[in-house]
């Protein structure tokens, strides 16, 4: 069984570190689905458990950084994939059809950061945000959010 890094080597655009000793694989949004498909093919549908989707607004870099933490059960470890999306029109391909476990994370990131996950038909405002914030079109976790 190959390691996730071996599997995704040609898709990698860089590597960053998250403590403790976790490597984050940076890939372009267009390659995200390909990366998930490779993980599913290698470790099987019973081996890839979606854990957490972290969205971080970085206005200084004009990006919203999305980090997908995925547990790979057969190797007992975490794979972290990071994609940067344009902050002005944030959009990333949805992976909720490949990994339905990503649904909750995508709904949350759409509601609170405004990232559109293309292909996810369940996206809706007000998933977590209160109605007044929704009415004003505010995404609470943006650094410049005011309401």
């Amino acid at each position: 069984m190959r390691s996730p890094e071996e599997l995704l080597r040609d898709l990698m655009e860089g590597v960053e570190a998250v403590k403790p000793n976790r490597r984050v694989i940076i890939i372009s949004p267009q390659k995200l689905r390909e990366a998930i498909i490779r993980l599913l093919n290698e470790y099987g549908r019973e081996g890839v458990l979606f854990s957490t989707l972290v969205g971080v607004d970085k206005p200084q870099n004009r990006v919203i950084e999305l980090t997908y933490f995925i547990n790979v059960i057969p190797i007992g470890g975490v794979v972290a994939l990071r994609v940067n999306v344009n902050r002005e029109a944030p959009s990333a391909p949805s992976i909720s059809d490949l990994l339905p476990g990503a649904m909750a994370g995508e709904l949350e990131a759409y509601d609170l950061l405004g990232v559109v996950f293309e292909g996810n038909r369940g996206l809706r405002r007000g998933f977590l945000a209160p109605p007044d914030m929704v009415a004003k079109g505010v995404h609470a976790l943006r650094k410049d959010a005011k309401w």
């Binding site: 570190a17 403790p20 957490t52 059960i73 470890g77 909750a104 998933f127 976790l141």
Partner: protein, 409 residues
């Protein structure tokens, strides 16, 4: 008075599929959390469930961005009442990873003790609520009475029944003396016996069995694909536990088994919780009997006030499943971003599929009472019996023009 002659031979059959929408929550006697389950049912059979959330969104992640790292620890503890120690631990560990602080062995053991006591009382609570939902109120009260002993044990250890704030960067807040150690062991002996009894009862009692066995079956592949966590995942025969995977705190030294069950139904989940509670009791005993000597409590005045730039990702196995904290720091006293992913986010939002095909009464939260309203009668199917044609029309058109007129179109 004139009456219309009934037709001798029917030429048209109109089928109106009726879907009943049963809103359960956000305030409901059978619900313990403010969430709305929109259950759509065809007759008694659940056809679709829409999970509506947002009733208790408190903006904690935003609040954490404007509070110092140290204040954040107390906010993180208050994300959840039942598993506050685990939240505290996960946040504290993420900070420790960031600052490169390693707690001493005695503190790591005491952390495990506090978290496992929490797991015992949380699992007892969930199974007591399950007894309540199936209508076995006496059992609910008995379990809750015994659970109180665990709360007492937690108070002896941490100083508080519920909110403990037990973790401190690089250690714990209170140490354990010989007298308290003895009291905890006595309580654990009593609780263990009771949990064994309840486990046997859940396994053998006909009321519980007939309500829980074969209900809400989730296959292993479905559980993993939908990102379900904790006992829900393990009851579907998936051996995944963040304690075993991550070996944080003293979980690399305290022996334990990852409990799984093959059935994947509601009963299996209850039994996995009882078995895990028993496993936690033996872990607590092990910790009390093998507690390393040395310091555990740190001098809080000497803790760093600012933290270096970087990112940390900590995970812990909360009673409900894997809990994760992501902390991004740009240096200084305030975090740039804190992301908390609680197991219930995955377990509640992603599990809508698991109700489908079961009876309305099998949606556990609606067992006590529900108020159905008919709202989704959208379309009718008109079948031309002579020609075997079948087509759908809006109900409004059917009412205005009649099936025969529509058929001629």
């Amino acid at each position: 008075m004139s009456t219309t002659e009934p037709e001798k031979e029917a030429s048209v059959l109109v089928k109106i599929p009726i879907t009943v929408e049963v809103p359960i929550g956000p305030q409901h006697p059978a619900l313990h959390e403010p969430v709305l389950l929109k259950v759509y049912a065809d007759g008694e059979e659940v056809t679709y469930v829409d999970v509506v959330t947002g009733y208790n969104h408190r903006g904690i992640e935003k609040l954490l961005e404007s509070s110092t790292f140290h204040k954040g620890k107390f906010i993180a503890s208050r994300v959840c009442g039942i598993c506050n120690t685990i939240h505290d631990d996960c946040y504290t560990r993420a900070l420790e990873y960031l600052a490169g602080i390693e707690p001493p062995p005695r503190a790591r053991y005491l952390r495990v003790l506090a978290m496992e006591l929490e797991r015992i009382h949380s699992h007892m609570l969930v199974n007591a609520v399950m007894a309540d939902i199936v209508g076995f109120d006496a059992l609910f009260m008995l379990i809750m009475k015994d659970r109180e002993q665990v709360m007492k044990a937690k108070e002896i250890l941490t100083g508080n029944r519920v909110l403990a704030d037990y973790m401190v960067l690089g250690g714990v807040r209170r140490d354990l003396d010989e007298f308290k150690r003895g009291r905890l062991l006595t309580i654990l002996e009593k609780v263990e016996e009771r949990i064994r009894y309840y486990r046997k009862l859940f396994e053998e009692d006909s009321t519980i069995n007939s309500r829980l066995r074969g209900v809400g079956v989730i296959k292993a592949v479905e559980a993993v694909a939908h990102g379900l966590l904790g006992p829900t995942l393990r009851a579907s025969n998936v051996k995944y536990d963040a304690r075993a995977d991550e070996r944080y705190d003293a979980y690399d030294e305290v022996p334990f088994n990852v409990i799984t069950a093959a059935e994947g139904d509601a009963l299996a989940r209850a039994l996995v919780r009882w078995d895990e509670a028993l496993e936690s009791v033996s872990m607590c005993k092990y910790v009390l009997e093998h507690l390393p000597s040395g310091p555990a409590v740190v001098d809080e005045r000497r803790l760093p006030r600012t933290f270096p730039a970087g990112e940390a990702y900590a995970r812990a196995e909360a009673p409900r499943g894997e809990l994760t904290y992501f902390i991004a720091s740009v240096g200084g006293a305030v975090p740039y971003r804190v992301k908390i992913r609680t197991p219930s986010l995955n377990n509640v939002v992603n599990s809508a599929f698991s109700y489908v095909g079961y009876s309305l009464a099998d949606v556990p939260v609606i067992l006590t009472s529900y108020d159905p309203c008919v709202s989704c009668m959208e379309r009718a199917i008109v079948i031309d019996l002579k020609e075997g044609r079948e087509f759908t029309v809006p109900l409004k058109d059917l009412a205005l023009r009649g099936a025969k007129t529509l058929m001629k179109r």
